[in-house]
Symmetry: C2
Subunit: 334 residues, 2 copies
Amino acid sequence: MTMNRVARLVKRPAPGLVTPECFEIADEAVPEPGDGEFRVRAEYVSLDPAMRGWINEGKSYVPPVSLGEVMRAFSAGTVEASRHPDFKEGDQVVGLFGVQTHAISDGTRVQKVDPEIAPLQSWIGGLGMPGLTAYFGLLRVGAAKEGDTVVVSAASGAVGSLVGQIAKLKGCRAVGIAGGPEKCRALIEEDGFDAAVDYKAGDLGAQLDAACPNGIDVDFENVGGDILDAILPRMNPFGRIAVCGLISAYTATSLPPGPKNIRFVLTMRLKMQGFIVFDFAEDNATALADLGQWVKAGKLRLREDVREGGVDAFVDTLNLLYTGGNFGKLSLKV
Amino acid sequence: MTMNRVARLVKRPAPGLVTPECFEIADEAVPEPGDGEFRVRAEYVSLDPAMRGWINEGKSYVPPVSLGEVMRAFSAGTVEASRHPDFKEGDQVVGLFGVQTHAISDGTRVQKVDPEIAPLQSWIGGLGMPGLTAYFGLLRVGAAKEGDTVVVSAASGAVGSLVGQIAKLKGCRAVGIAGGPEKCRALIEEDGFDAAVDYKAGDLGAQLDAACPNGIDVDFENVGGDILDAILPRMNPFGRIAVCGLISAYTATSLPPGPKNIRFVLTMRLKMQGFIVFDFAEDNATALADLGQWVKAGKLRLREDVREGGVDAFVDTLNLLYTGGNFGKLSLKV
């Protein structure tokens, strides 16, 4: 008999990396859909940096996952039973189905995907939340335009890789910050970045100076900490800092120091703006039309890092995001 | 024989308050205007927080004052000799005439003022750079609208007092942060703020909570440091932080820590934007029309702190700005 393998949050983590005892992973009966519902057999669970924040207590942009609740996650799968008029068996779908192999949904915020455009796992990556995040953050919040120098941190991650590629499609100079020579080489040779900065190689400032001879117009900030502090003094007047993430702080065990170069926000009249992809949801269709067209035309390379191990590997795989262990969009095959 | 009393920058200051040996104060011959020039007899020299930055070396929004140069300052005075077609003897004018009693100008960026609307010294205050700063910062950068809660730090200063009053004119809740019970009382009783927070009285967070029961929509930031860190966690989603000044850092002897609560920029999708009043120069006329009308109608109280002592008192009077010693728009009668 098939069972639903599921990860439930049972304990809030202490600051730092997530530890296994925070989750109870167990087999439960596969649930049956009620009237107006359908059941999804998940295939890929998306692992996203924001998940570390979702399991903390406290005020944020969404309520935290409750204790006892299935861990919140986007996943992609196939409808295998339906009593919902708009979803039929065999439909490929993406939604907030959680870290589990089988989920019941009433269709709220579920998206049917077109495997003709890209394979299922891409719809939690370049054509999913990371793609939309890169698109809205760069073009709306960052207001990147032709000729701008765009710097993106965590550039070899799901979002960063797309930010650089979209920047190039829009006629910008794209500079990526990543850890280690292998990732930096791939940014240039595979993703088409103009330059790469290796934050593990030291002297971030001098590397940025060399990579950005005309200063920085747009910073797509995924990391914060020392990286943001090295970027701030190099921003051009009226530059934009789109704050997408501050991953350097997510697993810190005490509140890390703030950006000591904050004065450049004043003197260079910078706009530093935080954003969450859901804020732009009403324009998702427009963005997905652009992204889908670029993917079909081969103009956007979707770097995917799919891991094996199923639901049981959830915690270890998630922690890769906070230790620089992934290379591209991280997901778990379940 | 009348002489020009003038303060010239002769040494860059060490970090901290300005020390007297940075300036040479001397009598020089009163200069004669050439063709297309006029001479101003200054009456009030404006003292502004930004002056501390103008005498440092390094990249900023304007080049630093050079060694040997007359100290840069706005001042207000009367034309006493003119060979310029547009300025005649007796005209009252405001411009970047420097810290001196007599100045030559070719009219560049000089404004003729109307003493019918307000007395001369107001044109370096509520109807000058501080007034324009408050106006553009609150309404353009901060995008304050009816019903918003607006917090302003250094609220008893030249800019802060106007920010609160303009906020009230626009139907906002105005909360001022100032040092000491006397200033806080005056903010409420004289300037019409809804609430005042005394940063010297401790527990800034609890005081802000009490003063802002609906959170903060707009922070007009003049101070930075601990004050900004107390404001950040109390900002409402999509709040705006108009960064006008970071005076807490201007006389720091080492680079102060950055805002450790920077993560709220992300989670609350805040917009933190630096600005300089000159960026809005093309709209000065519109702003001055509004400000002038409010002043004439008695809707805007211009708090002026005019000090005696002439050019020789320049350094001591300037330092009042960085020690909380002024109360309203600070200027020096020369």
